[in-house]
């Protein structure tokens, strides 16, 4: 079922990026216990104290959802994802995960998917 707003999104190139990182990403998404123990390791979470700054929240709601929808996401979705992977994350690569998930690389894939659709970091904010 295709959403109308996905028409301007190049799903094929998103899927290409998804496939390139498939095994690692899917496995990481699968094993995440949703325990939220990563929260305090993010200094942005410590400043804002909002779930949207939790490392797990950031990857589950970007790359996680994109995998779930197999790349069929709307521009609005990616614009929201942009804020999660750029505004809410500086990719300082210091997130703690009790299970050992490589969160920064997931955020990085989220960024490259956004970029592939011309959705880039906002500098005017």
């Amino acid at each position: 079922m295709l959403d109308n707003s996905t028409t301007e999104i190049d799903t094929v190139s998103i899927q290409h990026i998804l496939n390139k990182n498939k095994t690692k990403m899917k496995l990481s998404l699968k094993v995440c216990a949703h325990c939220t123990m990563c929260a305090e390791s993010c200094f942005l979470y410590m400043i804002h104290r909002k779930p949207e700054y939790m490392p797990s929240y950031k990857f589950i709601n970007t790359i996680g959802k994109i995998y779930q929808k197999k790349g069929n996401v709307s521009r609005e979705f990616l614009e929201k994802a942009r804020d999660l992977v750029w505004e809410n994350c500086v990719l300082c690569t210091r997130c703690y995960c009790p299970i050992g998930i490589d969160i920064p690389s997931m955020i990085a894939v989220g960024r490259s998917i956004c970029r592939s659709q011309g959705i880039e970091q906002r500098h005017d904010k």
């Binding site: 095994t23 690692k24 496995l27 699968k30 094993v31 995440c32 216990a33 949703h34 325990c35 939220t36 123990m37 929260a39 305090e40 390791s41 779930p51 949207e52 939790m54 797990s56 929240y57 589950i60 709601n61 210091r94 703690y96 995960c97 009790p98 299970i99 050992g100 998930i101 490589d102 690389s105």
Partner: protein, 236 residues
């Protein structure tokens, strides 16, 4: 036939305690090996990531410097780790996972069955200990559930799937507990217990439970800032 009758039927009972046990163990072990190999295949035993620096090849190990006397006691250092950040969570999760493993493995009843089948058994807890551990397990599981439902940040990333996984993990213990105490219809409860246990075994390699392998491989064998071992593997 009423639902309760299905679960107390002899057919299901025999199925659950016979072939289904073997099938679930088979699936569990085969699936586990598959998952472990798959996870390992995602990493490589490489000294360095990316282009190798020429010096890295013939770099001698530097002589060990005298370790500076630590300012912080071991306890203070521990407090700086995740243990200090989320102490309750760490204690609860540790207890939860230990019980999850030891209760079924060292349970007397399970070992008697093992003995019946193969004539071998391992040390077991007394029934009373097992009972207490089960209660502790159920309490920690309840803690997780409440946390999932009522702590905002946890709820923000909770889906139905998480609840489903929680049920699979908790149900064998709950039904085992009920069966041991002969609450409700024993026959129904024990069948449910067996079915849930088998479901969990099958689920381990293919669901979120896979973090059981992922944890050991990534925290001990893959190097990262937080690795617990001297891992020298890295993501490819």
């Amino acid at each position: 036939m009423e639902i309760s009758n299905i679960f107390s039927s002899a057919l299901l009972y025999n199925l659950a305690r016979g072939p289904l046990v073997w099938i679930s163990f088979l699936v569990f072990f085969a699936g586990s090996i598959f998952q472990i190999l798959r996870i390992l295949s995602l990493t490589k035993n490489d000294e360095r990531i990316g282009i190798q620096a020429k010096d890295s090849k013939n770099k001698k190990k530097p002589a060990k410097e005298k370790k500076k006397e630590a300012i912080l006691s071991w306890f203070q250092q521990l407090k700086l780790t995740i243990v200090g950040v989320s102490p309750i969570m760490i204690i609860v999760t540790t207890v939860f996972h230990i019980c999850l493993f030891v209760v079924p493995v060292f349970l007397l009843a399970h070992n008697i069955m093992l003995d019946d089948a193969w004539g071998l058994s391992i040390i077991t807890f007394s029934e009373k200990t097992a009972d207490i551990l089960t209660i502790i397990f159920l309490a920690t599981a309840l803690f997780f559930l409440l946390r999932r439902l009522f702590v905002g940040r946890v709820r923000s990333i909770t889906s139905l799937y998480d609840c489903f996984i929680w049920i699979i993990a908790t149900a064998p213990f709950l039904t085992g507990f009920l069966a041991y105490h002969q609450m409700f219809d024993y026959r129904t409860v024990i069948v449910l217990h067996m079915l849930f246990g088998e479901l969990m075994l099958i689920a381990i390699p293919f669901t979120k439970f896979t973090h059981m392998f992922f944890f050991f491989i990534f925290r001990f064998f893959v190097k990262s800032e937080y690795s617990l071992g001297k891992g020298n593997r890295s993501w490819y």
